[in-house]
């Protein structure tokens, strides 16, 4: 009887959270799945569309461009976000003068509004009046159409995204680095291990859970890129930088095709789920808890 009462009490305690998660997370996820098989413009009658929305995806040139761009963005930005963050974290883990100021400076872009950051970069990248091209001209080099050419637009977006997110990953790496016991480094030194060997065989394995977390989250966030491409390039030129989430937004809130937007959202969900499961599967080989 007492056990039953305790169980009941426990369920009652989690009930409010469960209701909130149910209403704001689980229900929308399920509803979006239903919507992905319907044609609905937000206020008219819903029409059953069967698999039409999913079939249309295959022929939709913009969806294909968005998928390709999102993959390009993810695989272009994740290595930078992880490797540069780890490199900075290792440097800032040293006891050097002004280390706290450096940590603050590297973290500043994270707290800066994405819209403000993208607008600032828009000015920096401006082909005619931008600061970067101004420097290039002083150096006698030709200006580069950073965000106005199909060739340069995505690399330029990636640079902004790496600049914006590297500080967040750096803080996680820094916390993990500070948890590595100093005795292990001392013992390695006594054994005559060099810097690289210490990093490869002591630091990396011990921070592998943080590395796994950062990589997994970076993949998830990268596939959801929206703000930088929307403000900096509006998905252009042409469709050179349109991302999947940006296309979902357009379909849902500009074209009012909620069903089609939900179908794209589910495809994105499956892609992210697939990558995350793969990462979890492979993590058993290299993550040491």
């Amino acid at each position: 009887m007492r056990h039953l009462r305790e169980t009941l009490a426990a369920y009652l305690f989690i009930l409010p959270s469960f209701v909130i998660v149910g209403v704001f997370v689980i229900y929308p996820i399920g509803h979006a799945l239903l919507l992905s098989f319907q044609d609905w413009n937000l206020i008219g009658t819903r029409k059953w569309a069967g698999t039409e929305n999913y079939e249309r995806l295959v022929q939709d040139p913009i969806f294909n461009d968005a998928l390709r761009n999102t993959a390009y963005f993810s695989f272009g930005s994740i290595p930078g976000k992880v490797v540069i963050a780890l490199f900075i974290a290792v440097l800032l883990n040293k006891k050097i003068f002004g280390v706290k100021a450096f940590r603050t400076v590297y973290f500043l872009p994270v707290v800066c509004s994405s819209v403000a950051a993208a607008l600032m970069w828009q000015w920096l990248y401006d082909a005619k009046f931008g600061f970067i091209n101004y420097i290039l001209r002083i150096l006698g080099l030709s200006p580069v159409p950073w965000i106005t050419s199909e060739k340069w637009a995505m690399p330029s977006v990636i640079v902004v995204s790496v600049w914006k997110d590297v500080g967040y990953n750096m803080v996680i790496f820094l916390a993990a680095l500070q948890d590595v016991p100093a005795e292990l480094y001392d013992a390695a030194k006594v054994d005559g291990a060099g810097r690289w060997v210490v990093f490869r065989y002591i630091t990396l394995p011990l921070i592998s859970p943080a590395l796994f977390f950062v990589t997994t989250m970076s993949v998830i966030f990268s596939f959801q890129v929206f703000d930088v491409t929307t403000i900096l390039t509006q998905g252009g030129p042409g469709t050179a930088t349109i991302s999947l989430v940006q296309y979902i937004y357009r379909c849902a809130f500009q074209f009012f095709r909620m069903g089609y937007a939900s179908a794209i959202a589910y495809v994105l969900f499956l892609i992210v789920l697939g990558f995350t499961l793969l990462q979890i599967r492979f993590s058993r080989r290299w993550v040491h808890y």
């Binding site: 809130f253 500009q254 009012f256």
Partner: protein, 425 residues
């Protein structure tokens, strides 16, 4: 006993009458949705104040939302059963909102109260009607003017455009004006080319159009249209036109126009207003260059203000709509006085209020009348317009950058556009 019954009945009737009378005088609150800065609604506030003075029984609550989010919010409000009683709708969205049954027909009110639709500029009326019925009164009917920088024309020794000018005249002027290199380069024409309205005047002057007259067939692949699109792409690659990718917004065009780096542009009323504020900038407006036997090449864009189909107070909503948009009504005068948008109705006093003779463009009144009577054309709007635009513009951008010919670009997107047109019939 009998007498007391009669007294009681009389008292009851009196009470009922008093109650009914009180109900009739009861204050009614209606919501009016429009796009604008929620923190500074400007002229709308003046209109509401005037309306409240004249109709103290009807309280109008403004719902102002920034344009970028306005139609999404409006749809969400309607879907959530909170539709505003009176709402402004951009003509780009009008067909889709009508398809969803958002507005009520107002022909009966128009006839009952003798609203003279003939006083509106005719080109503005199609954007308020659907299947032969009126669903709103026009708001902001105005041409997308062809603006030109007078100094740049003088510097190049080129005669400014004259009424009736043609595509050939435009090309000749453009080639003479474009000159220089690097950041000093002077472009003949500049536009972001991010929406169809930038392209249509050029297509129209070539004798083409986006759709056929029934708006059920996509016709951008006709030979004369493809040739014109290729010609535009060539101008951009040669630097006769500014690179549209370097002009992300109208503000960027205004900046270069005011720095005498862009000589010609498209300008809606809002751009005309912002250019007027620039000290020393001398410009004028004219209709778009015409084509052979095609004088109607200037886009006239209108929007509508209508009444929600689900309003509980249609009579009060109509009273407000009439005040706001009836030709020559208080709203019309207040808008003209605020110089917010050019007059939507053909009433000379409104133009006297709107035009500031000390500021350019000097010919705005005459040009607007010319466009309304001869050179103006409404957009071939239809359901799915924005979706079609969303597919078409990226394809055309490949033509502008020289990555594809117009034939290749249009062939790539034609099946998708046709499938949208079929689905959104």
């Amino acid at each position: 006993m009998r007498l007391s019954r009669y007294v009681l009945l009389l008292v009851g009737v009196l009470l009922l009458g008093a109650f009914a009378s009180a109900s009739a005088q009861e204050k009614v609150t209606i919501k009016y949705a429009f796009w604008g800065n929620p923190l500074a609604i400007g002229v709308e506030e003046d209109i509401l104040n005037e309306f409240h003075k004249e109709h103290p029984r009807i309280q109008v609550e403004p719902v102002a939302v920034a344009y970028a989010d306005y139609h999404t919010k409006l749809l969400t409000m309607i879907a959530g059963g909170l539709a505003p009683d009176v709402m402004r709708i951009d003509s780009y969205y009008f067909a889709d909102f009508m398809d969803a049954g958002a507005l009520m027909p107002i022909d009966e009110y128009i006839q009952r109260d003798g609203i003279d639709l003939g006083l509106y500029y005719e080109v503005g009326l199609p954007d308020s009607s659907y299947n032969g019925k009126m669903y709103g009164l026009p708001w902001g009917t105005a041409p997308l003017y062809f603006a030109y920088n007078i100094k740049m024309f003088e510097d190049a020794g080129v005669k400014p455009p004259e009424v009736g000018w043609t595509w050939e005249d435009f090309v000749e002027a453009a080639r003479s004006i474009a000159r220089g290199t690097g950041i000093e380069r002077r472009y003949a024409f500049g536009a972001p080319f991010t929406v169809i309205v930038y392209i249509l005047p050029f297509i129209w002057s070539a004798g083409g159009d986006l759709f056929d007259v029934t708006r059920t067939k996509f016709t951008l692949d006709e030979p004369q249209t493809l040739a014109r699109l290729n010609e535009l792409g060539k101008f951009m690659q040669e630097g006769v036109f500014a690179n549209p990718f370097e002009l992300p917004s109208e503000e960027a065009v205004t900046r270069l126009f005011s720095q005498n780096l862009i000589a010609m542009r498209q300008a809606a009323a809002i751009e005309v207003l912002s250019m007027q504020q620039i000290e020393g900038l001398n410009f004028d407006v004219i209709h778009w260059p015409t084509g052979k036997d095609v004088p109607q090449t200037t886009v006239v864009k209108s929007n509508t203000v209508g009444i929600s189909i689900s309003t509980k107070y249609p009579e009060e909503a109509w009273t407000f709509l009439k005040f706001l948009r009836a030709p020559g009504g208080p709203g019309d005068y207040l808008y003209a006085k605020a110089k917010r948008i050019p007059p939507t109705s053909k009433i000379p006093e409104l133009w006297d209020l709107y035009v500031d003779p000390t500021k350019p463009p000097k010919s705005i009144k005459e040009v607007t009348e010319l466009i309304s009577s001869k050179y103006g054309r409404t957009l071939p709007l239809r359901k799915g317009w924005l979706e079609i635009e969303g597919i078409l513009i990226p394809a055309l951008q490949k033509v502008w950058s020289g990555q594809a010919s117009a034939e290749e670009a249009i062939a790539t997107v034609k099946p998708e556009i046709e499938s949208i047109m079929k689905a959104r019939r």
